[in-house]
């Protein structure tokens, strides 16, 4: 299946990446090429096969005691913030 320009614009919006208008055609071509190539998987009979999300599927997921194991490091957490104030992250206005 080929990926057209409007599809690229839509997935760019879903991915929250601003893509300049002039890049859309080239990206549509590239993604079409990759999508066309991965579609060779259609040749493989996967009837009744369980999808594999991880090779660690056999391992039992662990639970730890529900206790605090980390914290008290506010300044560390904020140390790379683009903007912070009074111990908080400063983010753009969300609610009008």
């Amino acid at each position: 299946m080929s990926v057209d320009k409007s599809t690229v614009a839509r997935i760019a919006q879903l991915a929250r990446i601003k893509v300049p208008e002039e890049d859309l055609d080239a990206l549509a071509d590239e993604l079409s090429k990759i999508v066309g190539w991965v579609e060779q998987l259609d040749e493989v009979d996967t009837e009744g096969v369980a999808p594999m999300a991880s090779t660690a599927e056999g391992t039992v997921l662990r639970q730890r005691d529900d206790v605090v194991t980390d914290g008290d490091c506010r300044d560390d957490v904020l140390s790379n913030a683009p903007e912070s104030e009074k111990g908080y992250f400063v983010v753009p206005k969300v609610i009008e």
Binding site: R16, I17, P51
Partner: protein, 490 residues
């Protein structure tokens, strides 16, 4: 005595133990080498002051009888590992200037074991690439050159800075990470040993995530023994990584020097792909002979779905990446580019912060995960992944290890494959299958092409059988007697 930068990791360990030189002397020699080889662009940042302090502390510890597993040994860290107080960028504009307030589990263990950290090595942006040309900090130059021309070659990727630094004698060893071949492929291109452990051996905690079901850290060294030595300090169960394997850790070096009589080595004919350099196929045949001469039995094995591994990878890895990289939103750390609304800030930040290849993969991942395509692409790929993993399981009922080439070609020139995405992706065609199955793999330098470039052979074993991997790799190394080294050494 050989120059201090020419020692193997193991020889340097012995030299330190017998007092032939101090960690400080060893470290200074490497700092000088790094300064003299900046043209390679192997490092995103050098940390010479930190290295000297590490070395001085190590010398003091040694004097008081405290000796860790990699005590006083100067090592470089791929800039995908978060290192406390030292900029960690993933070679992306998005993380330029990011200084983690914490240390990745793997590097924390290495610090605990006495490592001297020389700096952070360059890589493809967010580890997405096979040539180290997608780095925001510029491409890395392979220290090797062809006999026939003087063109700068790529070191492979994504762990290209680590591979170049180890080959050029700028560090005794380095860490890498491997998602689809990012340790093994650059190791092959630079004539060094690159090893990807079983998925779950090394904690992923504190390593910038690319594709979480595939990412694994591993050692990049000049010998197989060095690989086993460094791996020992990197592995181990970590409760902070839910996929970390709570399994016993063997003594990896103990596997070396054993004979391989009676071992069965699988040779998968499906790895004999059209377009593979005939010299590489010849080297593979040579590798088969070496193992047979050492007493192993080689057996044809069939992995018929090998050719589907790469398309599976290019669905699963971008899908996981698009999810993992959603965290870069300009709010808590990293780049922020202002805009009129919150959405504008997200879109501007991500539009400017990601390079072309990362953007392409996030878009591809978003596409295959989007409504209407999820089953057709993502679930389909996961099903084929299962079939590929099962094929390996069947093969390993029959054989102890599998021998293949690492890459279908030798190192290529800068820009040579940048315009052809699929040609670039094909670099990983022989390494991706083991990644999908979570199996350990190692690339061992086995010979030179007629144009003077190193070529590697890959070994794969069943999960958590790194001991057999090292045991057979050791025999390949002994037989190949690879002594080639790049001209452009510091």
């Amino acid at each position: 005595m050989a120059s201090l930068t020419d020692l193997t990791l193991t020889e340097a360990q012995t030299g330190l133990a017998s007092g032939d030189f101090s960690s400080k002397e060893l470290t200074e020699a490497h700092i000088t080498a790094i300064e003299g080889a900046r043209d390679l662009n192997a490092f995103v940042i050098e940390t010479p002051e930190r290295a000297i302090e590490d070395a001085e502390r190590s010398d003091k510890r040694r004097a008081s009888g405290e000796v860790g597993g990699i005590e006083g040994l100067p090592i470089a860290i791929k800039d995908l590992f978060c290192t406390k107080g030292v900029q960690s960028t993933a070679a992306s504009k998005m993380l330029e200037g990011f200084v983690p307030p914490y240390e990745s589990t793997v590097t924390a263990q290495m610090v605990e074991a006495g490592m001297v950290m020389l700096g952070k090595t360059n890589l493809d942006e967010f580890a997405m690439g096979s040539s180290n040309e997608t780095s925001y900090f510029g491409p890395v130059v392979n220290p090797w050159k062809r006999n026939s021309d003087d063109q700068p070659l790529v070191p492979g990727g994504s762990s290209g800075g680590s591979a170049a630094a180890v080959a050029a004698r700028l560090c005794l060893a380095a860490t890498g990470t491997d998602t689809g071949g990012s340790i093994r492929q650059p190791a092959s291109f630079c004539g060094i040993v690159g090893m990807k452990p079983t998925y779950g051996r090394c904690s992923r905690w504190g390593i910038v995530a690319f594709a979480s079901s595939l990412d694994q850290a591993g050692p990049m060294t000049r010998t197989v023994r060095d690989s086993a030595l460094l791996l020992q300090s990197m592995v181990g169960f970590d409760p902070k990584d839910t996929t970390s394997a709570d399994v016993p850790v063997p003594d990896f070096q103990a596997a070396l020097g054993q004979d391989i009589k009676g071992l069965k080595i699988g040779i998968p004919s499906e790895y004999r792909l059209d377009g593979t350099d005939p010299e590489i196929l010849g080297l593979w045949d040579q590798g088969i002979k070496w193992l047979e001469e050492a007493g192993a039995e080689t057996v044809e094995v069939s992995l018929p779905r090998t050719k589907y591994a790469l398309p599976v990878y290019y669905i699963i890895a971008p899908a996981e990446a698009s999810s993992n990289l959603a965290r870069y939103d300009g709010m808590r750390y990293g780049l922020r580019v202002e805009g009129d609304t919150l959405t504008d800030v997200y879109e501007n930040t991500r539009g400017e912060g990601f390079g072309a290849e990362v953007r392409r993969r996030i878009l591809m991942g978003t596409y295959v995960l989007s409504a209407g395509y999820y089953d057709a692409y993502y679930i389909k790929a996961q099903k084929v992944r299962k079939l590929i993993a099962d094929e390996f399981s069947v093969a390993f009922e029959q054989v102890d290890a599998i021998l293949t080439p690492t890459v279908p070609s030798a190192a290529f020139a800068h820009g040579e494959k940048s315009d052809d995405l699929l040609a670039m992706y094909l670099n990983d065609v022989l390494t991706v299958p083991a990644s999908l199955a979570g199996l350990p793999g190692i690339s061992v330098p086995a010979g030179l092409s007629s144009d003077g470039l190193p070529l590697g052979l890959q070994l794969i074993t069943k999960a958590f059988d790194e001991e057999t991997l090292f045991r057979v790799a050791d025999v390949i190394e002994q037989s190949a007697k690879f002594t080639g080294r790049p001209d452009m050494k510091a």
